[in-house]
């Protein structure tokens, strides 16, 4: 099995503060990987480095054999990598439809054209509608993002992430702040829309982690403490001590 995403010895210092101190892990194609760990362990920083928001202080990221380390975020996206944000990061003034279409037209190469209007492109508009339906927002497609409920905004966050048809999806705490009921719905939606793709998810909610992931990596003090199938992680003494606690 070839390694699909291969992260080697990633270090990240923020002016002296060592957040990541040598993260190593590999993800194979179509794997569903969760990254868990206490607050401040460096999970979001790791996502920021994989997605190109920050540069690593050292180390390398190989995606399908290509070195991503020096590539800016927009190039990584075009290679098939997309991420969501822990704090909702949508286009507040635009409608749900326009939000999702921003990525759909990018994927279809309609980014900088001076003559063609996205409004007139049937293929793009149909795909946008389909994604809105997948994430359960078809009914509010023409409502501005700022007028959505919190749960709907989180769904839109995922809709935008899906809009560029990524093969590798990074979700940063997609259910943070949701009620139990909303969380249950979100899990089944995420499970559905990420089917057949590679998923890396950061989550605090263990229900979410155990229902979505087939592999769990525990990040602790900037390093991967353990990486294994959920059952083994649940019973790993080091993980219990560091994070999960005794049941």
């Amino acid at each position: 099995m070839t390694d699909y995403l291969c992260i080697r010895e990633i270090h990240k210092d923020f002016s002296g503060l060592k957040v990541l101190t040598g993260v190593d892990f590999t993800v194979s194609e179509k794997q569903r990987q969760a990254v868990i760990g206490p607050n401040g362990a460096g999970k979001t920083t790791l996502f920021n480095i994989i997605s190109g928001r920050f540069k690593a202080s050292s180390g390398s990221i190989l995606f399908k054999g290509q070195d991503l380390s020096a590539k800016p975020a927009h190039v990584r996206n075009r290679l098939g990598l997309a991420r969501s944000f822990q704090i909702t990061n949508v286009f507040q003034e635009l409608t749900v439809f326009e939000n999702i279409r921003s990525g759909v037209r990018s994927r279809n190469g309609l980014r900088y054209n001076f003559f063609r209007k996205p409004d007139n492109n049937r293929r793009i508009n149909e795909r946008t509608e389909a994604i809105a339906e997948e994430v359960g927002l078809k009914g509010v497609m023409h409502v501005p993002a700022s007028a959505l409920s919190y749960g709907q905004q989180r769904a839109l966050e995922i809709g935008i992430t899906l809009s560029t048809e990524p093969e590798l999806i990074l979700l940063d705490e997609p259910t943070a702040g949701m009620t139990r009921e909303e969380t249950a719905q979100a899990i089944s939606m995420i499970d559905r829309v990420t089917a057949g793709r590679t998923l890396i998810i950061i989550e605090h909610d263990m229900d979410v982690v155990f229902s979505l992931a087939d592999t769990i990596s525990v990040l602790h003090y900037g390093r991967i403490l353990a990486s294994d199938v959920p059952e083994k992680i649940r019973n790993d003494q080091r993980v219990k001590d560091a994070y999960l606690g005794e049941e």
Partner: protein, 333 residues
């Protein structure tokens, strides 16, 4: 075609028709003023694409306006037999190149640093225009004669104001309509989305640095086209065309008209030129009164004249309030 689209195209056609009839309806003096308004309308529209759509506050837009103005004058003087089209094309080429190069330097910085750097660049260009007497005429400026327009089958005398007015109406009018169309295109929408949430755009595959540079260059070329017609209109150009005052002028036009809509700055140019002409007839101290009017305007109606018109339109029964705050939809004329 949606009804809103239809209304927009109808409105554009109506304005053009009105423009065609103007020479039969108004005096020569006013036709002169109207030509000037059309030229400045494009200048203001180009500035608003930068400020209102992309959210880039530049104090250096006059460098493109002035560059276009000087390119036309200098090329007409030094290249014998140069046609008007070629002079205008040269101005467009020149401002495009200058826009691309200066944009490459300027756009590395954001916010206040960007604004200050544009001011510095504008001053630099102004200094060159003042000192390089041999080419730019320095304080004396350059006088030109509009060359006649050769259309192949016939020649149109450009010395005649009405003829020149029609050429301006068509060329500048098309540029303004294209700018409006641009706001609906993929690139126009990209610019708007970037202002809204640049970071997210990067994670959706957009190269935001290149997008900004393209927009900056485009608005520079539009301002250059306006500048080229400014020289052709007055048949004269001096360093005032490239001065910081010329930037202030476009800033005021844009603010008076309102940055929230596409057509606001056109209205702003209209009001500004008319006020300037009438006030300067009444008193030598006209800049003082202009200044006072603008202070009151900015304090009382920060959204500009277009905000007043939109508010009135909302009061009319049957007109639903469909305008979203400073979004693309409001860009219809």
């Amino acid at each position: 075609m949606t009804s809103q689209k239809k209304a927009s195209y109808l409105f554009i056609a109506l304005i053009f028709a009105l423009g065609v009839l103007m020479p039969f309806m108004i005096k020569r003096y006013h036709l002169n003023m109207l030509t000037e308004i059309i030229v400045f309308a494009l200048y203001a529209v180009s500035y608003n694409l930068l400020l209102g759509y992309a959210g880039l506050l530049s104090f250096g837009h006059a460098m493109f306006f002035g560059m276009g103005a000087f390119t036309v004058a200098v090329s007409l003087i030094h290249i014998p037999g140069l046609s008007m089209w070629n002079a205008v094309l040269l101005a467009l080429a020149m401002t495009t190149v200058v826009g691309f190069i200066t944009g490459g330097f300027l756009l590395r910085h954001k916010g206040a640093y960007f604004a200050l750097l544009t001011l510095a660049f504008n001053s630099l260009f102004y200094a060159v225009a003042t000192k390089w007497h041999k080419i730019t005429g320095g304080d004396d400026g350059l006088s030109i004669t509009r060359p006649d327009l050769n259309l192949g089958f016939t020649t149109i005398k450009m010395a005649d104001l009405t003829n020149f007015y029609y050429v301006t109406l068509v060329v500048i009018g098309v540029a303004i309509v294209f700018s409006w169309y641009f706001t609906k295109t993929a690139m126009g929408q990209t610019v708007l989305l970037m202002r809204e949430n640049e970071e997210r755009m990067k994670f959706l595959g957009y190269n935001t640095n290149i997008s900004r540079l393209i927009l900056f260059t485009f608005t520079g070329a539009l301002a250059g086209l306006a500048g080229a017609f400014y020289t052709l209109h007055f048949q004269f150009v001096s360093q005032s065309a490239i001065s910081v005052d010329m930037t202030t002028t476009v800033l005021l036009m844009t603010f008076v008209g309102g940055t929230g809509t596409f057509w606001g700055p056109i209205l702003g140019a209209f009001v500004y030129i008319i006020l300037q002409n009438y006030l300067s007839d009444i008193t030598d101290r006209w800049p003082l009164f202009m200044g006072l009017i603008f202070i009151v305007m900015v304090l009382v109606i920060p959204g500009g004249l277009s905000q007043i018109i939109l508010s009135i339109r909302r009061l009319i029964p049957g007109k639903r309030n469909t305008d979203r705050p400073v979004a693309a939809e409001e860009a219809s004329p």
